[in-house]
């Protein structure tokens, strides 16, 4: 019988809701202003998709130590800079959007670019997303 991850997902969301804070996830509008010249980019300003969700910001090495197992360099072999962070989201909090498409995280006055998206997904059930974010 397949393991039921519902309880684990609820626990993850409860913890992140308790210890996280609201941040804004932004998916940049990439619809070109001129369909015949998509290389000229979207209209400025485009119509971005945004979602406010609870996230926990941690240092990259601490999250890797917990379940991704590497420090100081990420999986692409790039050095982690001192301003780099990781942010954790519970699946239930962000299920309305495609996480790999998120471009920016806005945390108060700080805006981070998303470098990578990892997902803890045992048995095909997403539980926690971890994003490497850079200023």
């Amino acid at each position: 019988m397949a393991f039921d991850y519902t309880g684990v997902m609820t626990t993850a969301q409860t913890l992140i809701d308790s210890f996280g804070r609201d941040v804004t996830l932004v998916i940049r509008d990439t619809t070109p202003a001129d369909a015949t010249k998509p290389w000229r980019g979207p209209a400025s300003p485009g119509t971005d998709i945004t979602l406010v969700a609870k996230g926990v910001i941690v240092s990259p090495s601490s999250s890797r130590g917990s379940f991704f197992g590497a420090e100081y360099v990420n999986d692409a072999g790039k050095l982690i800079r001192r301003t780099d962070k990781s942010i954790l989201f519970a699946e239930n909090a962000v299920s309305g959007i495609t996480m790999k498409d998120v471009d920016k995280i806005i945390d108060g006055a700080d805006t981070y670019r998303v470098d990578r998206v990892n997902v803890l997904e045992p048995g095909g059930s997403p539980i926690i997303y971890e994003m490497d974010i850079k200023k």
Binding site: T30, T36, K37, P38, W39, G41, P42, K100, D101
Partner: protein, 141 residues
């Protein structure tokens, strides 16, 4: 004829896009343009990344007091990513679409000196093929 760099880029990428959208082999396959959209991450999906690399711009005529003509050269690099394992069937077909575009496409300001494929090899889940197109155009300043 002379042209501005922006007009040249528009012309070069329009030649590519017109052929890419019209050919049954390539139509519908995603194109990633510089600084617009993110690379495709699905290893079962073919895609192409278009890049423009200008190299040098040398003065092409003697200074006549008012205007100077500069000759701009560079390369268009189309990196084609196809799911690994079909023996270059799709990659070769897509490369041919691009080569035909620049050998036969409408040319107004830009001259295409050469267009050829380079089979790079396996990159992640894909086979990567670069089509490199050498271009030349003149600007007046």
């Amino acid at each position: 004829m002379t042209v501005t760099p922006d007009q040249a880029i528009d012309e070069m990428l329009t030649v590519f896009k017109s052929a890419w959208d019209a050919d049954a082999t390539s139509s519908g396959i995603s194109v990633v343009y510089p600084d617009v959209s993110k690379p495709i991450t699905d290893g079962n999906t073919s895609w192409v990344e278009a890049k423009i690399q200008h190299s040098v711009a040398g003065e092409a005529n003697l200074f006549n007091g008012d205007t100077r003509r500069y000759r701009n050269t560079g390369f268009l690099i189309f990196s084609i990513y196809t799911p690994f394992g079909d023996g270059l069937t799709l990659a070769g077909g897509l490369a041919k679409v691009i080569i035909n575009a620049f050998e036969n496409g409408v040319k107004q300001f830009v001259t295409y000196v050469s267009a050829a494929p380079t089979y790079v090899g396996q990159v992640g889940a894909w086979h990567m093929t670069n089509v490199i197109v050498e271009f030349v155009y003149d600007t007046i300043r």
